[in-house]
Symmetry: C2
Subunit: 119 residues, 2 copies
Amino acid sequence: MNKINIREKLNLFHDHWNPRIVGELNGQHVKLAKLKGEFVWHSHAEEDELFLVLAGEFDMEFRDRTVHLTTGEFLIVPRGVEHRPIAQEEVSIMLFEPATTLNTGDAESKLTRTDLEKL
Amino acid sequence: MNKINIREKLNLFHDHWNPRIVGELNGQHVKLAKLKGEFVWHSHAEEDELFLVLAGEFDMEFRDRTVHLTTGEFLIVPRGVEHRPIAQEEVSIMLFEPATTLNTGDAESKLTRTDLEKL
């Protein structure tokens, strides 16, 4: 039961699309990630997913529209909804989602990350 | 599926110890609250609770120690652990916790809030 300083944790890694686990509660994970570039289209059949922008900005693409998110904003992507994050420049985000959530959802690829590091 | 701007939501209320619901996912609520002064000692039998400081600082008291939290830091209080937040000055926080969570846990009092407003 120690406090987590988000800035300190973000300084511990520099790669993109590789979330780190920084908290766990009620079967959910709190993750930090840095994004840059385009991710893959995917959805999560059973998991709703929260994206909170800590520093920077990015676009969350849906099949029918795009939501632009900047520092201090969050978006909840409901289960089953296809989405694709795109960041022109590096953005740091916090994720809140079930511990079962796979980063690429139903679209396993080279970008899929399992056995996420805990910071 | 609209984005939430945290600052805009925080500007919509000014009372203390009265969390607002700003998101729901996977049976969990995302809440915003403003704290000032001393809360009551309480615990939640079934719910772990995350406190993230958005602006300001406060102390989370436990029976055996106190954790000081400032902007950009979070703390997860496990279920069953007695705690009491104390804020010398107003602090704005985000909470992640199960939708079933009562703010005063096992210590119902005048400070208990039910039917939380959704912003």
